[in-house]
């Protein structure tokens, strides 16, 4: 796994490449604990959001298992009225969570910013 310093640098790059960046974290899927965090707003509870998103991913994995689907989750995109949230799986144990302001960004920008730097997260 990349070092903590490298993780922080990657999140900074994602912030730079994401218009309307709100927050991003690298999250341990099993525990929901954050491995690296970056937030542009202090009122965004990134710790809680990361933890609950881990439950979201786990539930999705359960659904896939129930349906007998053999594929893997690449990412999960949630479009809110004012924000866009992207959950990008990094390996089988972690995921990247990114939240941006919808007025300043769009789905394509968000995906591009994450995919561009995701490989460095699992180095």
């Amino acid at each position: 796994m990349a070092t903590e310093k490298q993780l922080s640098e990657v999140l900074e790059k994602i912030q730079t490449d994401s218009n309307g960046f709100i927050a991003a974290s690298l999250v341990d899927l099993d525990s929901g604990m954050t491995l690296a965090v970056k937030a542009a707003r202090s009122d965004f509870d990134l710790t809680a959001a990361s933890a609950y998103n881990s439950e979201l991913v786990k539930q999705k994995l359960k659904i896939m298992k129930t349906l007998g689907l053999n594929g893997t989750i690449e990412d999960m995109l949630i479009t809110l009225s004012d924000q866009i949230h992207l959950v990008k799986l990094i390996g089988s144990n972690t995921f990247l969570y990114l939240a941006v302001d919808r007025k300043q960004s769009n789905i394509a920008i968000v995906r591009n910013a994450v995919n561009k730097h995701a490989a460095a997260l699992s180095a």
Partner: protein, 495 residues
């Protein structure tokens, strides 16, 4: 100590940071606290050194819909405070072992790891361990590939870190949390995951617990742990030997005597029993256990499920005298074989300068103490009472059985095996034969010595202690006077 705190809707787990003095435990906690926007509380800190523990409280993550409340504590690493370290480690759901990986400290760090790793694995369920290889920024830090190589055969996660910058501290912590959750799942599957208020809800509660334990008999801070642990087998109270010597003194003492290195190819006639003893030597030779001692005290070593011991005076310049002693010890073991656990050997090893030293090697076995620790954590008060009575019966039976031995075996929770055998076994180090040993108490006096501290802790920690006492009373009614159940009930009621 994992517990579901229903009133707050959280799962509480304890992550314990262990490691030698000045390895970076407190620095790691401070870096972690900064990273998660929490604070470190250090009761009793003196000159920047941890005397009791450091405490960080952090809520994050989710487990089955409940937030995870992590009580993150670091233990004192100084040898004089080992008794506090032990008490804290006993409560761990996961351990982060912080080691100094600089070249000059690496042997000492490895010795520490080789004691802690089997201790964690001996727990039921095992306590997960993360090895935080610290001080990686040092110019003389051992190579990364050498870290894992040194622990070949030992399944443990290694996370490189530089605690002064915080590098690696978060990764180690999150991994430890994951291991703690594994343990929680195992406890839950076995129906042993407790619900209720944590027994220590904050640093002041934990401080009070440590102080109470010291008043009840744990060694005070001024006593040398090495001397307390090795000076008398009659008060043997823990399965660990003394901690390895600090590197500063090791060089000087090495000049006096050759360190014992188990050699399965050593000459015949120096090992008892001849065949099984050599096989045991073969087994321990690969474990890299290096006994140590403080000053001129007994030699001790432990790790990977084995214990080594040599009395300070068991060194002989005359070879025939040494052989006579070996034969006497072999005879002692043979005569008392019915009382002893398996997996023992007596060795005459080269001590340098033409001298020989007599060693005993004992395979570690599960003790009554460990069984009792599990029992006291059961949720059902009736089950707790049943298990405590079982331990009492075993203790008394052991004392009666050992009366027939040719040597006085110390009869403690640490020296009696945990199985409910009709014939209790002595699992401790073989004591010296000889005169002037204080007789072991019997009957109720024995139970009072061994079980009263645990009953007091039970009373303090459990809100349903009265139910436990009631069950003990009910069990006592089923048997006659002068039985362990009766004595135990009287003890519990009288506290």
């Amino acid at each position: 100590m994992a517990i579901i705190d229903e009133s707050r809707g959280v799962l509480v787990v304890r992550i314990v940071y262990d490691g030698p003095a000045l390895s970076g435990k407190t620095t790691s906690l401070r870096a972690l606290a900064r990273g998660v926007s929490s604070t470190v509380e250090c009761p009793g800190e003196l000159g920047g050194r941890t005397l009791f523990f450091d405490w960080v409280d952090y809520v994050g993550g989710l487990f089955e819909g409940r937030q995870i409340r992590c009580q993150i504590i670091s233990v004192p690493g100084q040898r004089e405070l080992l008794h506090r370290r032990k008490l804290l480690l006993e409560t761990a759901d996961a351990v982060v072992l912080v080691l100094d990986t600089r070249e000059k400290e690496w042997d000492f760090s490895l010795g520490w790891a080789r004691e802690v790793i089997p201790y964690c694995r001996s727990k039921d369920p095992p306590v997960g361990l993360v090895l935080q290889a610290n001080k990686r920024d040092a110019p003389d830090a051992v190579k990364r590939e050498d870290l894992g190589r040194a622990l070949t055969g030992t399944p443990v996660a290694v996370v490189p870190s530089t605690a002064t910058t915080g590098e690696g501290t978060r990764e180690a912590f999150v991994l430890a949390v994951r291991l703690a959750l594994d343990r929680v799942r195992a406890l839950s599957s076995a129906g042993r995951l407790r619900t209720g208020k944590p027994t220590e809800d904050g640093p002041q509660d934990l401080l009070a617990k440590l102080r109470t334990a010291e008043q009840d008999g744990a060694a005070p801070v001024s006593e040398s742990f090495a001397q307390a642990a090795t000076s008398s087998l009659a008060v043997e109270a823990e399965p660990w030997a003394a901690a390895p010597k600090t590197p500063a003194t090791e060089g000087a003492e090495q000049a006096e005597e050759l360190l014992f290195t188990p050699d399965p190819l050593m000459p015949g006639g120096m090992i008892w029993p001849p065949v099984d003893g050599r096989m045991l030597l073969h087994e321990v030779a690969s474990l890299g256990i290096r006994p140590a001692r403080a000053g001129h005290a007994d030699w001790c070593g432990s790790g990977s499920g084995f214990r080594f011991h040599s009395f300070s005076h068991a060194i002989f310049a005359d070879q025939s005298h040494a052989r006579s002693e070996l034969i006497e010890w072999a005879r002692l073991h043979s005569i008392n074989a019915a009382h002893l656990s398996k997996g023992r050997a007596v060795i005459l090893a080269d001590a340098g300068d033409g001298k020989l030293r007599l060693w005993q090697i004992v395979r570690a076995e599960a003790t009554l103490r460990e069984r009792l620790a599990l029992a006291l954590a059961l949720t059902n008060p009736e089950h707790v009472a049943n298990e405590v009575v079982g331990a009492a019966v075993q203790l008394v039976a052991a004392r009666e059985s050992f009366a027939a031995a040719s040597v006085q075996f110390p009869c403690t929770l640490w020296t009696i095996g945990s199985s409910n055998s009709y014939r209790p076994t002595f699992v401790g180090l073989m004591p010296e034969r000889g005169n002037g040993v204080t007789p072991e108490p019997q009957g109720q006096a024995l139970l009072e010595r061994e079980l009263s501290p645990h009953l007091r802790e039970l009373r303090r920690a459990r809100v349903d202690y009265d139910e436990v006492v009631a069950r003990l009373g009910a069990l006592a009614q089923l048997v006659g006077q002068g039985t362990p159940a009766r004595w135990l009930s009287e003890l519990a009621t009288g506290l």
